[in-house]
């Protein structure tokens, strides 16, 4: 059914169609509308046989999810930013225990300075936690990925984070196709856990493992991710057959064939980038775009294949690893070892800064002329940075940076 609907609510509808048995909720912007809607569905009876637990922290949210999943229930939760960090210990625990929890991450920056707007630093902080990490490009894809995620998680017994850009997707109203219950039921079989806490067949789950087997346990976690590289395209195909549309898979390509320059990105930025390269194509060569829908596992071989003929790869990413550069770029450089091309990093959209098509176009023009630095911060206000650096050179006790910059912006304007 077509519906004009907010991204968050659409995701909640998708989750409800997957018939979760336990949902844990703790509010954080921009995830709130998702868990609010889930709670409403349970209360109205739209979602039946489901326990909705309002917990006292994100740490508890994921912990309740861990208990529920280990007891054999299909389990869902959602968070963002500080919430993800607050549950960090449980994030690793859920994957270590192989529990197929599905969690939405409404991507948001991490403080300090506190910032409620979108970037990917929350997701990147947990990139090695052993979760499968999917990124939605559009709200339709966000909705669809949740339905796929439950099937994938349960098939591999691995937790999945479905990432959708905070506000840009979570709060955007769009016309979306909401599948009907029968189609979702046909696509998503009931949950049969690999392991479950059951008095009729008692297991000990979560026992200590020492050096004698820890490497093997971790190897198997890696292997599970490699299996996901095969299962994700299968699920993508079967979703297409069932629902008649393309959603998910490992990554999406746009005008990549024959392009010497390809931009790689994740999430909603892909839309703006496609517009930007199209406009640019009127004055120069066609630039391709790849948007990753699967970030963990990182589809190395597949990306290498897709980028075989590219000579310039520009990664536009919404997180920065201070002192190192771009996180996705590092993964991509590994994937492209031996391919005759260079990889440049563009950090964009931090803390919700709008990434506009004109900015992207001027960045790409420089890239095409070979003028782009290895690490480039899109739309960085150089004057503001230089004035603060000068202040710091003058003395040690210069005060909080964030406040200085706000004062600076007030005097100089945001340039």
């Amino acid at each position: 059914m077509l519906k004009q609907i907010e991204g968050s609510r659409a995701v909640a509808e998708a989750v409800a169609l997957c018939r979760p048995e336990v949902i844990c909720a703790y509010p954080i912007t921009p995830q709130t509308h998702i868990v609010e809607a889930c709670g409403e569905f349970v209360k109205t009876g739209q979602l039946q046989n489901c326990e909705y637990v309002n917990v006292e922290s994100e740490f508890a949210a994921l912990s309740v999810a861990i208990g529920a999943s280990a007891a054999g229930a299909r389990t869902y939760t959602a968070t963002a930013s500080q919430g993800l960090l607050f549950m960090a210990e449980a994030v690793y625990n859920a994957s270590g225990l192989g529990l197929p929890i599905v969690m939405t991450l409404g991507n948001r920056a991490i403080g300090a300075p506190i910032n409620i707007w979108n970037d990917h630093s929350d997701a990147m902080s947990m990139r090695d936690a052993g979760w499968i990490m999917l990124f939605a490009e559009t709200n339709q894809e966000a909705l669809d990925l949740h339905i796929q995620a439950f099937r994938l998680a349960e098939q591999l017994s691995c937790p999945i984070m479905v990432c959708m850009d905070g506000f840009i997707l979570t709060h955007a109203y769009e016309r979306l196709e909401i599948p009907d219950q029968a189609a979702v039921d046909a696509f998503l079989p009931p949950f049969v856990p690999r392991q479950a806490l059951d008095p009729a067949d008692p297991y000990s789950i979560g026992a200590m493992v020492g050096p004698e087997a820890f490497t093997e346990v971790r190897y198997l976690a890696h292997d599970k991710q490699l299996q996901a590289l095969e299962v994700i395209p299968e699920i993508h195909q079967s979703f297409k057959e069932q629902f008649g549309r393309e959603s998910g898979g490992l990554f999406h390509t746009y005008q990549v064939e024959g392009a010497a320059t390809v931009v790689v990105t994740m999430g909603s930025l892909a839309g703006t980038l496609k517009d930007a390269v199209d406009e640019l194509a009127q004055e120069g060569p066609q630039v391709g775009v790849i948007s990753l829908s699967c970030y963990r596992p990182f589809p190395r071989t597949e990306l290498r294949h897709a980028l075989e003929h590219a000579r310039r790869v520009i990664v536009v990413e919404k997180a920065v690893a201070p002192g190192a550069g771009g996180v996705v770029s590092m993964d991509l450089r590994m994937a492209l070892q031996g391919v005759d091309c260079y990889v440049k990093t563009v950090i964009a959209g931090l803390g919700g800064r709008p990434v506009t098509s004109p900015s992207l176009q001027s960045m790409l023009r420089r890239a095409l002329k070979g003028e782009l630095a290895d690490l480039h911060f899109l739309d960085l206000n150089r004057g503001m940075v230089d004035r603060e650096l000068a202040r710091q050179r003058r003395g040690i006790a210069t005060g909080p940076v964030a406040e200085n910059l706000l004062k600076d912006a007030a005097t100089h304007g945001a340039d």
Binding site: V22, F59, A60, A68, L197, P199, S204, I205
Partner: protein, 345 residues
């Protein structure tokens, strides 16, 4: 009923039947339905022999009694969630496990929440006959897991939480927790300086804090009175909603007490008033176990090396008096010297 793996396991265990100490010989004199679960051949042996606890470990003893009693009360349909700590580590050294019931360890500070999850799953599946128990040490309960514990209480989730209180972080080598008594020596409150051992803080009485949540049932218990402990577990299991049981479990290694004195040390703790045994329902204290033979706190303190600096090189009169005042305050608060001194079997 079909024979389950659990039945098979307990069949194998039946041969193991240990004669018990003097206090339980009296079992034969009480009504059959009031006899110890441990005195029965078909107890479930929830935590079975072969684990790696130290000799005389109060926690191992307490856990065995508590869980066997819970298993009996719930017709063996119990799922246990364990916080990180001695109990978790000594019971599940890879690749072995002592647990004869479905058991899960997740993290140090989240056992109450994980148990809430287990219980929510059972509810969603219409399996409310399966009961969830969470358990942890004093550190896991009164410190790092406290937020999750209070949340579980406040929602009145159908979970029995059992705290095994050995008054310090034993698993990591005896560091101070918020349950460590004033003056006690631990690795992080060494017996040096002007005021050796732990500080006199304000205390953090988690059983009373639990009671303040108005949950259906709160009790303290001790390995010195195992019959009472079993009865409290049984009572807790007869109720639904959040329930809290705080069990006093001496740790010979951390306390510097003799392994064979665990029960004696625990008894002295209650008889001097430092660890009162009481129970409460819905925010109200409903009963306490009166002291049969009152002893001064120093009789208790002297059994343990962690308090040795209170007596040597000279007696620390001031701080001994302060500890006695703590005990006297408990005695008054829970009316432990009242006349009806019959133990309530």
């Amino acid at each position: 009923m079909p024979q389950t793996k659990l039945d098979e396991l307990s069949d194998q265990q039946k041969v193991k039947f240990y004669q018990k100490g003097t206090f339980t010989v009296g079992n034969r004199l009480v009504d059959p339905d009031k006899r110890d679960v441990q005195a029965s051949q078909d107890r479930s042996n929830a935590i079975t022999s072969g684990h790696r606890a130290c000799q005389g470990c109060g926690e191992a003893l307490g856990a065995r009694f508590a869980l066997d009693a819970a298993m009996r009360a719930a017709d063996s349909k119990v799922i246990a969630v364990n916080a990180t700590g001695c109990l978790e580590v000594f019971s599940t050294p890879y690749p072995e496990t002592s647990w004869q019931l479905p058991w899960m360890h997740s993290l140090f500070g989240n056992a109450p929440a994980v148990a809430t999850g287990v219980q929510a799953a059972m509810r969603a599946k219409g399996r409310e006959d399966v009961r969830a128990i969470a358990q942890g040490g004093d550190g896991g309960t009164t410190d790092i897991g406290f937020g999750c514990l209070s949340g579980m209480f406040e929602r009145n989730d159908d979970v029995l939480y059992i705290c095994y209180d050995n008054e310090a972080y034993m698993n990591t080598g005896v560091q101070r927790s918020s349950a460590t008594p004033p003056t006690a020596r631990t690795a992080t409150t060494p017996a040096v300086g002007d005021a050796p051992g732990n500080v006199f803080g304000t205390g953090k009485n988690v059983p009373l804090i639990a009671l303040a949540h108005n949950i259906p049932y709160v009790a303290t218990a001790s390995v010195s009175n195992l019959h009472d402990l079993e009865a409290k577990v049984q009572k807790a299991m007869s109720l639904r909603g959040a329930r809290y049981l705080h069990i006093f479990v001496p740790c010979p290694l951390g306390w510097g007490s003799a392994a064979e004195d665990t029960i004696k040390v625990a008894r002295l703790a209650s008889e001097c008033g430092l660890f009162p045994l009481w129970e409460g329902e819905l925010g109200v204290v409903t009963g306490s176990d009166p002291i049969r033979k009152k002893v001064p706190v120093e009789d208790y303190l002297k059994t343990q090396k962690r308090f040795a600096h209170l007596f040597k090189p000279e007696r620390d009169e001031e701080r001994l008096a302060a500890l006695q005042r703590m005990a006297d305050h408990n005695i008054e608060r829970f009316d432990l010297l009242r006349e009806d001194k019959e133990p309530a079997i």
